[in-house]
Symmetry: C3
Subunit: 326 residues, 3 copies
């Protein structure tokens, strides 16, 4: 199956990268190639990474990257195998270099390459409604249905026996077998990630995708943003109700059940067998364990251990909540 991941335009010579960042030489005798940009823990030799906050010092110390965009005060934490490139604003610099490697990942204009499905080979393979559009680099499995006015934009792979509703828009997504996506959804747009700037905020590229594993169902009017440096993942047999918002980099486990109007902020991780009541919200960078139940309307602002029932705002143990709210 075609994988809809963004393709790196690399390698680039480190001299090109230095020039773009307007930083001086890093004393390389011979110009070397940089293959890709990744985060501290997933980058490898001949790749460039970035380190902008002490929070990530443990990852910085053992990064395998050959280069690292960082600050004067943080550079001492890097291993000797990693050459620091010192800049004033790490994240703005990362945005620049990521745009070099992934120029298509910053722009989320509508896909003007999409054409009528009747002009594609899929017309004999799937059941489809009126006015269905298909972008470049799309693959569709056997026995799929695609509703009216739905747009499968570029870089989408859909498995077998999937049912996509009407008025839905999908891009940059990898969708497994037996998945149902209902009407009016938007899947795979860039997340709400940018660097605030007084005159014009600076968008950074989102090179991740959305992965929806088999047997999932996504309710009407839901939005699932693709990841920035990693992927957004909905695990096997997880069901989402209507009007849910899943932000970039979120990972949800298997067999979870998420009721209407829930919102999960960026980079949070939700376990398997989790039940989330309607309108609950989970803050960014939170970890919710396995077998957790979160009451409707709750606001989760701290990590939740496995096998816990929580409710309230801020969400706390349900026994405590009931005692406090007799």
């Amino acid at each position: 199956m075609m994988k809809p991941f963004f393709k790196s335009r690399g390698p680039f010579f480190i001299s090109e990268i230095l020039k773009s960042l307007k930083v001086g030489t890093c004393n390389l005798k011979k110009d070397v190639q940089v293959k890709d940009i990744k985060d501290l823990s997933s980058s490898n030799i001949s790749e460039i990474t970035f380190f902008h906050s002490k929070k990530y010092v443990e990852f910085a110390k053992i990064t395998k990257a050959s280069f690292c965009i960082t600050t004067e005060s943080l550079k001492k934490e890097l291993p000797s195998s990693c050459i620091p490139l010192v800049v004033e604003n790490v994240l703005v610099s990362v945005s620049k270099i990521t745009s070099m490697f992934y120029p298509d990942a910053i722009n989320d204009d509508f896909d003007d390459s999409a054409i009528d499905i009747n002009q594609t080979n899929f017309k004999d393979k799937v059941i489809f409604g009126k006015n269905v559009l298909i972008g470049k680099d799309v693959s569709l499995g056997a026995n799929c249905k695609i509703g009216h006015n739905t747009i499968i934009e570029k870089n989408v792979s859909i498995g077998d026996n999937c049912s996509i509703g009407s008025n839905t828009i999908i891009r940059n997504s990898l969708i497994s077998n037996n998945v149902k996506i209902l009407d009016n959804c938007v899947i795979g747009k860039h997340g709400f990630g940018f660097f605030p700037n007084k005159y014009k905020n600076l968008r950074y590229p989102h090179i991740g995708i959305v992965i929806i594993e088999e047997n999932c169902e996504i309710g009407c009017g839901s939005t699932i943003d693709r990841g920035s440096m990693s992927n957004t993942v909905i695990g096997k047999n997880t069901y989402l109700d209507n009007q849910i918002h899943i932000a970039h980099n979120v990972k949800i486990g298997e067999n979870s059940i998420i009721a209407g109007q829930v919102g999960i902020a960026g980079s949070s991780i939700v376990g398997s067998n989790v039940k989330i009541g309607g309108q609950a919200g989970i803050s960014g960078h939170i970890k919710v364990g396995n077998n957790v139940e979160i009451g409707g309307g709750s606001g989760v602002i701290r990590n939740i251990p496995d096998n816990t029932k929580v409710i309230g705002y801020p969400a706390k143990n349900i026994r405590e909540f009931l005692r406090d709210n007799k």
Copy 2:
């Protein structure tokens, strides 16, 4: 006026039902016909019902159904006129039998029977936009307007003087006179009802419809799910703002006003002359009385008596809330 209710494929012989459930004989000398499947209180002679929880014992004792899917421990509560069919998992069995009677009610794939309105007789009767599609078994009253890209899927009856916006999708709904439904709504899809299963959740049929009574208004981006065993009802002259979610089986009274982003979970009942502030949520199976005011952002997790003002999470009397939050 055509009524868009699901049609039963019954009657079936009880022997067919027993075979499907893999339960033994129930000592019937002659095979008898079963006309329909309904809940404990609305079922009648020659129909089958189900009884899976002690909560419903009062209804079970007086059910008029001739057959009841139930458990070994509950069967003793049924009247002698009702033959128990003992199974291991009542709800899964109900799902099976409901699918026999209503095979179209389990599947919410897009309506591929829908055709361009210009190919129907409605083209001379209503004012419509570009790319409007009409499914089977649709009726439209006089003086209606239907916006661009809107899809009236199968089993929809719309009264006189209705205005439907653009990009809206409606199925399995009975809409009275003078109703306005704005843009990007989805009305009449199945609810978020299924039996969780470790490998693949089991959807049960939703044989109810959505009923929207006269003079209602439904705001942009709202979703109203149809009922499972009963209907979802929006009472006369009730106004819903944008991005509201109304789950399956919910019943809302007359002259109620519901502000933006409110969510009402499955099977809750809201009275008449009720005002609900923005982003409030009502849990499932809750009863909110008449003339109630619910403050914006509130979380209603207990029944609310008539003529009460509540606010907070969990919602409590507004005087109490203001005292606690001085």
Copy 3:
């Protein structure tokens, strides 16, 4: 640039207005003309205004309007230059007279004047998808992109370098340069403003528009309602995430960042450099200062001064919240 504001059908003779309101003469020797209807503070000589609540007494005392729809008990507060028209129900009367001046502003049926962009001069000027529709009195700047199935309804002005997504609907809006509006949005519909009535609620006209200033971004599935007597404004370089609802008359300052599923109720004013976390709600008629941070899920029901961080429901100072929720 064309301005998409509603056009007044005035002037009307005061005798016509009196007749419509069924009020007696106001002792004018010669019939005089009334140019427009506005609120107490923005109305001028030869215009009519309204005064229905003691809350607005300070504005009433200095209004420059020549006529004022009001009640027997309030009329004494008006200056001698302003002739009171005493009615039983001020707001219902205002609705009637506003409908005389702005008959197009009460009806939000779909725009049946919209035609395929290929039939307009814009076809050579902008990049557009399939099935794009353009209404009357639309202007589009240079270098714009308009996605598939998007409808630019009547009275819309869009600046240069704007990117509009797919399945989006815009009307009665003034959009500046470099604005991005993503997929499935509805911008410029009337707000949730009407006079409740036992048998049929009475909609009043919304003669304001939506103004989106330069460099803004509006996320997928968001709704922004136009103003009733003033405009709804999103300030320069303000970013909105997905599924946000902005009600009528709301004004948001510059450089603000608003996360997913936030709702802001009617007539509230939010300052510049404000950050609002996901799912937070702001009640109507609230003033949030500059440089404010509002935590995710908060419910703001009181004004928030400049330079404050608040969280909770009701939202309070973050230090207080953390102390109360250790």
